[in-house]
């Protein structure tokens, strides 16, 4: 006869409001094999846990059931308490009478009856439970960071400074990301390049960091502590080991009129180029689509002028496999493109703003480049169409963001602040100019942020107009902006010289494809999902993969840097131990009955099932059976449900347990 203890939690009033917890505890005490039952206001609190521990010792309990919230919330808490009381932690289970009962029902009697049933069947599961020992797996103390923006750079530097090796992979020819494009940063107005480039140089010089630029993630195998990542090194057409970064190839390249992506297409670059002068590494790449040599086979100027002979037109893409123990994903964001409706995307464009037809309607990042000392205008605010200095500039917030009809319902978080910054930069550079801002709300929750915005309004004379713009059109060389001031309740018309749109922050292109390679989840916008919005904001649900920066959701620089350091800390925690303990809730194959059909292998989402050969003493092959790698198994139970010969069982969820639970009802 088993001796099970049942502890019913009130969860403050969360459960006791709709469920008569005393009755549930009393009914549980009458189930055969239950040696002890009680109810308590907060089981997860310290006195609650002490109650559990004491009861285990006093009543010599051999199994514990806590009827409270979801096991996702507190299973670990109570298993730890049971373990401290000398019980195998896997003999402690939870009955969810909060999310599955009290929160979703109103009728007290019926909810109480349901709670009793839930407890009854979970008691059966505890009764049939087995002691399990945690699985240990080795940890490769080397981390992979995907993305070389400020998030990736910060995470890589932190992990490397802790003494672990890091591989940093960046898709573009240089690290730096969007932050390198910015002119000045809020709320202090310090120069972005000045605080960014030293960190980029640190990455390049750090002995623990291996930097792969112009590279992409091809394939990810393995599991926490033991990933094998295939990295594709795109052909640069320049030998990195030979190139000295003198730049003569760029000055001699005859094809110089290619719009520079780094300047949002407003400056020009040659076909062999580095994205910007402070690029790390300072090794050019050849843009093969625009290079005369690659398109017509005639030119070769760069190879002729290159002293060390680094230009290599024959270079091919190469692949390397990196063994790493943890992965930090920091792929960042892109801006919603107002001028083009993305193909095959549910996101709608802004026809009413004359997108793509009016050259002097630009996005925020383009304004950053215009205001940047390293930008196409050398830091002068000049409008794209005729190079004149605009005297009336209209800024429009929430373009794309918070527009459900256009396909995006979230707030892009950074636009309020950077628009305030733009008005200041404009006021500093064009003294007789006037900046207008159309906005719905000013969202400035950050240290020194609201003060910054108020400074733009009160001291830097930006005219903020609460209300949105309905339409824009060209009249002569002006753009007519038709908006409204909802505070006054009138229509407003402004003839602007330049319009700057604070367009929405979106995940990078291909974010979904990378997520599929990594096996991490993402939301409908392709932002990566964290394991828990509040308590696990850095971890992915997939063990060993962490998130940093705007790939998880719109973020400003301070938040991004904080999250990157947090992700690095998580990686260091993982690397602090030589072996990793994993939850032993994994599938096991009964090799006696397995017929080797490998239906399980087809359905396994984790790639945990391998083929195992069974040989006799003479070494003759008897049969092939399935083998579950416990380090990889996610414990989902799909294989158990699929197996036609019923020879796979998931520990903690055995057929025997499930059947006993059904019978108890």
């Amino acid at each position: 006869m088993s001796r099970i203890g049942v502890f019913v939690c009130h969860c403050g009033e969360n459960i006791s409001r709709t469920v008569d917890v005393e009755q549930v505890a009393k009914a549980a005490g009458e189930i055969p094999g239950v040696a002890f039952s009680c109810d308590y206001k907060y089981m997860c609190s310290d006195p609650g846990q002490t109650l559990l521990k004491k009861a285990v010792a006093e009543h010599k309990l051999d199994g514990v059931l806590v009827a409270a919230c979801s096991p996702r919330m507190h299973e670990k808490t109570f298993r730890k308490a049971a373990e401290a009381a000398g019980l195998n932690p896997y003999l402690c289970e939870m009955a969810n009478i909060r999310e599955h009962c009290s929160w979703v029902h109103e009728d007290r009697d019926m909810a109480t009856a349901k709670a009793k049933d839930i407890v009854k069947l979970m008691v059966e599961r505890v009764r049939k439970g087995k002691s399990l020992a945690p699985i240990t797996v080795p940890v490769t103390k080397r981390a992979l960071v995907i993305g070389g923006g400020i998030a990736g750079i910060q995470a890589a530097l932190d992990i490397a400074d802790a003494g672990h090796r890091v591989v940093l992979v960046e898709r573009e020819p240089s690290i730096g990301g969007h932050m390198a494009q910015l002119s000045e940063t809020f709320p202090t107005l310090d120069c972005s390049q000045c605080i960014m480039t030293p960190k980029m140089v640190d990455v390049a010089n750090h002995p623990n960091i291996t930097l792969f630029t112009y590279s992409e993630i091809e394939k990810v195998d393995g599991y926490i502590g033991n990933f094998q990542v295939t990295v594709k090194h795109k052909a640069r057409s320049v030998d990195e080991s030979k190139c000295t970064g003198c730049g003569i190839c760029m000055t001699k390249c005859p094809k110089k009129k290619i719009p520079n992506e780094f300047d949002q297409g407003h400056g020009m670059r040659p076909a062999i180029y580095v994205p910007f002068p402070q690029a790390v590494p300072n090794t050019p790449v050849i843009d093969r689509e625009n290079c005369t040599m690659f398109q017509s086979g005639k030119c070769g100027v760069c190879a002729k002028v290159c002293g060390p002979g680094a230009v290599d037109y024959e270079q091919q893409d190469t692949f390397t496999v990196e063994d790493v123990g943890a992965i930090v994903v920091a792929t960042g964001f892109k801006l919603y493109t107002i001028d083009r409706k993305p193909e095959g995307s549910p996101i709608q464009g802004y026809g009413e703003f004359g997108y793509g037809t009016i050259p002097d309607i630009i996005d925020g990042m383009t304004f950053e480049r215009l205001a940047s000392a390293s930008g196409p205008t050398g830091g002068k605010i000049l409008r794209p169409s005729d190079g004149k200095e605009p005297k009336q500039v209209v800024f429009i917030q929430c373009v794309g963001s918070r527009a459900r009809e256009k396909g995006i319902s979230y707030c892009s978080k950074v636009c309020c602040m950077y628009t305030a910054k733009h008005t200041m930069l404009y006021h500093h550079k064009v003294h007789d100019g006037q900046a207008y801002v159309f906005f719905m709300d000013a969202r400035t929750p950050g240290k020194g942020y609201d003060e910054f915005w108020r400074r733009a309004v009160e001291e830097e004379e930006a005219v903020y107009i609460r209300g949105m713009v309905s339409r824009m059109y060209q009249r002569g060389d002006k753009i007519v902006v038709m908006g409204s001031d909802i505070q006054v309740g009138v229509q407003v018309e402004i003839e602007a010289d330049l319009v700057v749109l604070a367009t929405a922050v979106q995940p990078q292109d291909g974010a979904d494809l990378l997520a599929q390679k990594l096996g991490i989840s993402y939301d409908k916008y392709n932002f990566y999902s964290e394991a828990h919005a509040k308590l696990k904001p850095v971890e992915c649900a997939t063990a060993g993969i962490y998130l940093a920066g705007a790939c998880q959701g719109p973020k400003d620089i301070p938040d991004t840097v904080s999250q990157a350091s947090a992700a690095a800390a998580k990686v260091m925690t993982l690397f602090a131990k030589d072996k990793l303990e994993r939850d032993p809730v994994v599938a096991k194959v009964n090799e006696k009955y397995c017929v080797g059909c490998f239906a399980c292998k087809k359905v396994c989402a984790y790639g945990a099932i391998e083929e195992k050969e069974i040989r006799d003493r003479q070494g003759n092959l008897v049969k092939k059976v399935a083998y579950v790698n416990p380090g990889v198994c996610g414990g989902c139970g799909t294989c158990q449900a699929t197996c036609p010969s019923k020879s796979i069982e998931l520990d903690g969820y055995t057929d025997e347990q499930i059947m006993a639970m059904i019978e108890a009802l």
Partner: protein, 194 residues
């Protein structure tokens, strides 16, 4: 005027006027972030076409003429509830005061602003007699505002109680009072006074 399309540009925004209001009232106009607390507590708000917060908003947009064309500033009772409760230290009562002062010289003050007419006649009486002559004030107000019979029946009552004098009594130092008016006029010409 109230709902007329608003064109915004450096020419249409009268920032000079706003600067005058700020100087006169000693309160920032830009500081207001339009929370609406002033209008929420204003006892006269329901009578105004531009409630107090909108008066500030119009100033922020350099639209002083829209305020002066309306009657809001004349309905303000100067109770200072707005100033007392403003979370952002905008002295709205002082701004209202400043607007009333500035309305004296502004183009096209409201035709409805009998308050201004009354104020003007009041001051003229002081200048002429050196003190107030209520009967003349009342008569002139009724004539100029076109409401000939307004409060006529109150006259005999007030006279019988000695509150309204039939004949004026001139101040002895009328020349000195004229001197004060002259000096203010000169100062106004020089721009030293409003």
């Amino acid at each position: 005027m109230k709902n007329k399309l608003m064109h915004l540009s450096n020419e249409t925004m009268n920032i000079g006027f706003v600067k005058k209001v700020e100087a006169l009232s000693g309160s920032s106009v830009r500081r207001c972030f339009q929370c609406g607390k002033c209008s929420a507590g204003c006892p006269m708000s329901t009578f105004m076409e531009h409630p107090p917060n909108r008066v500030v908003r119009l100033l922020q947009l350099g639209q002083g003429q829209r305020i002066l064309a309306g009657r809001s500033i004349w309905y303000c009772a100067s109770c200072e509830t707005c100033t007392t409760r403003c979370p952002n230290k905008v002295d709205l009562a002082a701004i209202m005061d400043a607007l009333r002062k500035l309305s004296w010289d502004a183009d096209g003050p409201s035709k409805e602003s009998y308050v201004q007419l009354a104020n003007r006649l009041f001051i003229e009486n002081i200048r002429t007699y050196g003190r107030q002559y209520e009967l003349r004030l009342g008569a002139a107000f009724n004539m100029k505002s076109g409401q000939f019979l307004k409060d006529l029946m109150l006259g005999p009552k007030l006279i019988s109680k000695g509150k309204l004098k039939m004949f004026h009594s001139k101040n002895k130092n009328i020349a000195e009072i004229e001197g004060i008016f002259k000096r203010i006029e000169e100062m106004r010409k020089k721009g030293e006074a409003l």
